[in-house]
């Protein structure tokens, strides 16, 4: 800090011996002032850096030299390779996505009346730590629509189009009643007028038996019709399957179909409180009785956001949610600095809004956009905490990123410090080009 003043000092004023003494003293002062910074940099930056590089050539926590072994592991161990692939996805998607969303928000908020309120809301996620944001998204992404907000939203739309049936979990109790909840159940025994159809179902909890149900009744055969019963073929202990027993409830309100031998639907009816139903005046010949799939339609089960397939998209959504506000605020500041007359001139010359945006606004915003883009690039390279907090253990491998792989290798139970250090060095090397670009930009701006 005193270097500048040394050269700035006019040499005429001081006699040579004094000047030399003064210069020495000045150097000493320089050193004294630099010492604390140098000390801290050396202890907390330089030493760890050098030691990390050294350790990356050693085996686990020993001092055994293994050369490039650890670096080879990076590209052969499956979880780390997955991490590199995932990081590539992050780099490809996130900086561009965040910058684009930030740009759209910034441009749009210029036009709306409540722009400050809107900006505050979008910027709010920046105020909480990434880890806390991760915890929030972990809950939002839950598969159970009663817990996860995302699936609750999707479920509301789903159920509006495909309402769930009365007995979503039911299954048949005997081998004669075949089918599945998806296709419905068909009683395979051919039925003629005067026969009785017994459609036993299980897998229905006492709480989900339709209201109004009473003890099931074994129907009497009727002369020219087909009678039958749909009931919960279960009593504590199991009971005998296929037989209507004391203690087993009828299932009211179930739609039963009468089909001809070819499987064509002839008519349908609903069961009564004791589960019985009847088709009167049935023509001669073999008929089938069935319960259609609508009764068994399952409620929306939820999208598996946190499963192996969707975990990285779910993480990217969460991450974008946090950082979009940052991008918006920086770009909005850049937007405010654009001279209005240029935009006015473009409009006066007959440019459409899109043309003005595309050909004037965006090019003028270029430096700001690249600052946001590069900041996000660096952030995304070292993304860590949101992955750790959102991804459950079972899909952490599928969500792995380089920084997480480094931490898990070093401290997450494997305790392979050598390999962990190698991953750290690898990550450092990846960040260097981006840093170099950034430093060059700073130089140019200064």
């Amino acid at each position: 800090m005193s270097g500048g003043s040394v050269t700035a000092e006019p040499p005429v004023r001081a006699a040579p011996p004094i000047a030399r003494g003064g210069r020495l003293r000045k150097h000493a002062v320089t050193l004294v002032f630099l010492a604390p910074a140098v000390f801290f940099l050396a202890v907390w930056i330089l030493y760890p850096l050098v030691d990390t590089v050294r350790r990356s050539f050693l085996y686990r926590d020993t001092n055994r030299w293994v050369g490039l072994h650890n670096y080879r592991e990076i590209f052969t161990l499956e979880p780390i390779v997955t991490a590199i692939k995932n990081n590539a996805i992050w780099i490809g998607v996130v900086p561009a996505l965040v910058t684009a969303i930030g740009l759209v928000f910034a441009v749009l908020t210029e036009r709306i009346r409540w722009s400050v309120a809107f900006k505050t809301v979008v910027f709010m996620p920046m105020a909480i730590s990434l880890f806390a944001a991760g915890v929030i998204w972990r809950v939002m992404d839950q598969e159970d629509p009663h817990v996860g907000a995302l699936n609750a939203g999707i479920g509301a739309i789903h159920d509006a189009f495909r309402p769930s049936g009365a007995l979503p979990d039911a299954e048949s109790s005997t081998s004669r009643l075949t089918g599945s909840p998806k296709r419905g159940f068909v009683l395979q025994t051919p039925l003629r007028p005067g026969d009785v159809a017994r459609l036993g179902l299980t897998g229905i909890s006492p709480d989900s038996v339709p209201s109004g149900a009473v003890q099931a009744a074994d129907p009497e055969p009727s002369g020219d019709g087909i009678t039958g019963v749909v009931w919960r073929d279960f009593k504590p202990g199991g009971g005998k399957t296929g037989q209507v027993e004391q203690g087993e409830l009828g299932l009211p309100g179930v739609t039963v179909e009468l089909r001809d031998a070819a499987g064509k639907k002839l008519e349908s009816t609903k069961t009564t409180d004791n589960g019985t139903f009847a088709f009167d005046d049935v023509e001669a010949g073999g008929h089938r009785v069935a319960i259609g799939p609508k009764t068994f339609a399952k409620p929306f089960g939820g999208v598996t956001w946190l499963g192996p397939k969707l975990i990285t998209p779910a993480l990217i959504i969460a991450y974008t949610w946090v950082w979009a506000g940052f991008a918006m605020v920086v770009i909005a500041a850049g937007l405010a600095a654009i001279p209005r007359d240029v935009l006015e001139a473009a409009r006066t010359d007959g440019g459409t809004e899109w043309q003005v945006f595309r050909r004037v606004t965006v090019p003028l915003l270029g430096p700001v956009l690249s600052v946001v883009f590069i900041t996000m690039l660096i952030n995304v390279l070292k993304v860590f905490d949101i992955v750790l907090s959102v991804a459950p253990g079972s899909s952490q491998d599928d969500a792995n990123v380089i920084a997480l792989a480094m931490w898990r290798t070093s401290f997450g139970g494997v305790n392979d410090y050598g390999l962990g250090a190698a991953i750290a060095v690898f990550l450092f090397l990846l960040v260097i080009p981006v840093l170099a670009i950034n430093v060059r930009r700073f130089r140019r701006e200064v």
């Binding site: 006492p206 898990r408 139970g413």
Partner: protein, 431 residues
Amino acid sequence: MRHYRWYLLGLAALVIAGLVAAATAGGARQARGISGNISVIGKWTGGEQKSFEAVIDAFTNKNPDVDVKYTPGGDNTPQLVSTAVAGGNPPDVAILPQPGLMRDLARRGAAKPITFAKATLAKNEAPVWLSLGSVKGKLYGLFFKAANKSTVWYNVKLFKDAGAKPATTLPAFLKLAKTLKASGAKAYAIAAADGWTLTDLFENIYLRQAGPAKYDLLTTHKIKWTDASVKAALRTMAKIVGDTGNIPGGRSGALQTDFPTSVTQVLSDKPKAAMAIEGDFVPNDAKADVKPIKDYNVFPFPSIKPSTRSAIVGGGDTVIMLKSNAASRAFISFLATSQAATLWANRGGFSSPNRGIKPSAYKDALNRKTALALANAKIFRFDMSDLQPAAFGATTGQGEWKLFQDFVSNPNNVNGIAAKLEAAAKKAYGK
């Protein structure tokens, strides 16, 4: 001159006074016993920490000149202790969740033998615990708190609705699951998001089906994971974890259910499943409004072969000594007594391998049941995954934890998983 004499006299008087004081103080101390400060780092936090501090208080009441400073390390205890040892400033005593690190520290000479406590322990604990705590024939670890992992917890109401009774054999258990399903309940709460619950399930099956001898061989990787006995155990396991219609949310739901959630699926007044197959620590995560016996109960993991009936897989927290001094030795000796174990047993949430505890010390009836079964087990084996290299047996998203999770998503792939397990084990055991 006169000044000088007074000065000398004064000095002499001071020296004498000091000597007398020191002598009396020393004498008093010797009469009262041991003195010193000891530091303890342990994994116990929260309620466990309070109970352990009660045990410490009993010790310091006996030895008023010893100061015990306990630092709870939680899940990071192994890292804390290894770092402290590497940094040359270890605590006097450490309590570790897995015996692997104890063995490592003993081999490196960082842990000190606790042979002085051997006689007390031999009297109080089954020989298996002593051999687990020994390295090369010397005792290093004391198992103070243990866990019985061969338990099945169930929801009383769902069992009543289904007219079901606890099963003692595996076929009866699978039939029970079927009955539960027919009654409209899901039989199993599976916490597959936490890989360790799956290794516990596998170990329970393997110990019963393949027997303790094979279990020991597999633990030390003397037989391969592609062994027929492993595949047979995996097929048995598939009957449970593969019964997707009998798990809330199916298999994919299980893979996102962590352990506390799986407990609340069963030990709740709005249950989603009837049984949680996990250790005696299950009630710690129960919903507040459910009561033992009335709302939930426990039965032993069903037997598979008559010869391995009442076999128990368990875990335990190991107390080790990193600095040998009078105070730390006295503290370890105290922890070896039935008196110390009884103190915590009284407070609940505790299973001890110590057979000197009176059954009545366990206040909670279910706790008593599981703790006594553990202390008196005829066949006891320590949790296999805790004895294996951590990279294979105890790391999120890796080794056994990850591969058993893959097995849950595809329970038909017995051969594939066995091969992958063997490959991962080979690597972790260092080729």
